[in-house]
Amino acid sequence: MSVDVKGSYDRTYISNFSKDRQEPEWFTNLRLSSLEQADAIELPKPEKTKITDWNFTSFAHTTETKVVNSFDDLDEDIRVLLGEKEQAKNVIVQENGKVTYEKVEADLKNQGVIFTDIETAIREHSNLVEKAYMKEAISTNENKLTALHAALVNGGTFIYVPKDTHVELPLQTVYSVSENFGLFNHILIVAEQNSSLTYIENYVTTQDANDAVANIIAEVYAADGAKVNFGAVDTFSEQVTTYVNRRGHVGRDAEIYWALGQMNDGNTVSENTTYLMGQGSYADSKAVSIGRGEQSQNFTTNIVHYGKNSDGQILSHGVMKDRASSIFNGISKIEKGATKANGEQTERVLMLSEKARGDANPILLIDEDDVTAGHAASVGRIDPLQKFYLMSRGISEQEAERLVIHGFLAPVVGELPVEAVKEQLTEVIERKVY
């Protein structure tokens, strides 16, 4: 068998791992049944990207991590993400799946909001987690990687916002990976009726990362009338192979806004799927990415409409340089009965090199007559007339290109909810483009 982690991570290992974490029985059982599934089912098959020889299965599942006592002891790379000391009000930092720094305002607890690492949540809020965990938004048996994920979860965060509760400040997380760690990170966000929150996550690697693996699932449940802002900046190094699947499940008149800065340097499969279940539900998915070096990436943004009058907006912008290759799939799916639904999508790819490859595939799948839908896609180079215009004002060729690229990515960068993260993304873009 080509993909087999069973050798090192078998039933016994997983049972013990689960026991060490004092997990409830339902969770242990879910791990074990998922392990069985992982053996039986195939890798996902992202359109036009061959991933069969990518490393998803060779990694270290546990490592030693030290807990950091103060903000100042955090790694510099992590500190910059949290901004000035005072700015980071609600933060969880996890290194190789373990919490190394945590700060949660008392207000939050008083509101009844839960913001904690997934390990603690599974232990202390087992019922709340069980109700949602890998149920509606994603299943363990979708493919080998979702099953492996469920079997091996070793990091992540749980957020619960009670009914009618509004979390004013962003909840921020940073996940870092070192050496050959295999991070199986699970984010579960449950926003109850008419609640609202903003969540932002950063993925980073330390210097010594070497052939690491990230298998990430985020599930966001926005119950009726809830509003969730979800921001992410992924910056794994070329030493990390990533499978990341971010899912949303949106109730009546609820809204999810995704702003994804997909800046990994390693091979990446990224899926962002939102299920618009309720009447008048809304999803807005904005994503930017930059491909460089030899990396191969596959991005799928998918919005599935079930609710009447549901509205899904997809905007995906990618910049490609060197020999990088990226596929951008946008899927608007409107199910029968989702009358008056509206699905719109735009994929744009800016090619900076002759040798790079960029594909934009807009797909509309519509099973209902009474809907509106539209798509636009383009793959192009920097417009020489734009460059001429900018340079005719004295701006150098390099600066002109920089402006055009920043402008091209601005629709997403501008949406990120935390200033420090916005700045960081801008910096990453700068670094990746030059």
């Binding site: 001429f388 215009y389 004295g394 701006i395 402006l403 402008g407 601005a410």
Partner: protein, 260 residues
């Protein structure tokens, strides 16, 4: 300080192997305002683009100097930094880049590192010029020319001219698409720049802008070169009578650049 000088001599320009400028010559000094008029398709925009260094235009013959230096050897940004400015007939739109960021980059590109214009000073300067041109302050934060109306784009070109303070400006149909009030405002912008340290080449189809900005010289362009020059009265006669009398006088049948 030396007076600005742009000198173009026997310029031949081709695009995609088609010769469009066929021996164009002009000399513009600081303090002078020249107007070029001429029917559609006679090479006016080609001249402007070629002088600015547009990549699609190939100079096949002739030369151009800017303050004594070989203009045609310079990159586009070097020409701008030397003090040449082109208000384009069709300015590009650049999404995601705000007008203010763009203009500030442009100003700073002409300055040494460490000597960049301070944000406060820039904002004051920009507010002042926008006020003069009656441009709503929201345009600072709009993406460069994106969704601007025709007239708004033209005003924005003049705003850039006022902010960058070039030595020689070429204004390509800055008046087309402007309503009467906007025309006055734009003309005022040009007149504000008037000094011995500023020369201007106005490309226009209409006398009306020249009513507000009186030119020192008026040139008529046909077939890719200047076929007649005169004073402001020439523009008035063109406005009244059209181009036929010149064509008759010179025996020109097709004034465009198409025919040899």
């Amino acid at each position: 300080m030396t007076t600005p000088n742009l000198k173009v001599d026997d310029l031949h320009v081709s695009i995609e192997d088609k010769e469009i400028l066929k021996g164009f010559g002009i000399e513009i000094n600081g303090g002078e305002i020249h107007a070029i008029m001429g029917p559609n398709g006679t090479g006016k925009s080609t001249l402007a683009s070629a002088l600015m260094g547009h990549p699609n235009y190939e100079i096949t013959k002739g030369n151009a100097t800017f303050n004594g230096e070989d203009l045609l050897e310079m990159e586009v940004d070097e020409r701008a930094q030397a003090g040449l400015f082109l208000a384009m007939q069709y300015p590009s739109e650049v999404s995601g880049v705000t007008n203010a960021d763009f203009i500030r980059s442009a100003i700073n590109s002409g300055r040494e590192e460490g000597d960049e214009i301070s944000l406060m000073k820039f904002i004051r300067h920009m507010d002042d010029k926008m006020g003069k041109l009656e441009i709503d302050s929201s345009f600072q934060h709009r993406y460069l020319n994106e969704g601007f109306s025709g007239g708004e784009k033209k005003r924005n070109e003049i705003l850039q001219m006022l902010m960058l303070e070039p030595k020689i400006a070429i204004l390509d149909e800055i008046d087309s698409g402007l309503d009467i009030d906007a025309l006055k405002v734009v003309a005022q912008g040009v007149n504000d720049m008037r000094s011995d340290d500023f020369g201007c080449l106005i490309i226009t189809h209409y006398q009306r802008l020249l009513n507000y900005v009186t030119p020192d010289k008026v040139h008529v362009m046909m077939q890719g070169r200047i076929v007649k020059s005169g004073g402001p009265e020439l523009a008035e006669r063109l406005e009244a009578e059209g181009y036929d009398w010149i064509k008759n006088e010179l025996g020109i049948e097709d004034e465009t650049v198409g025919q040899e």
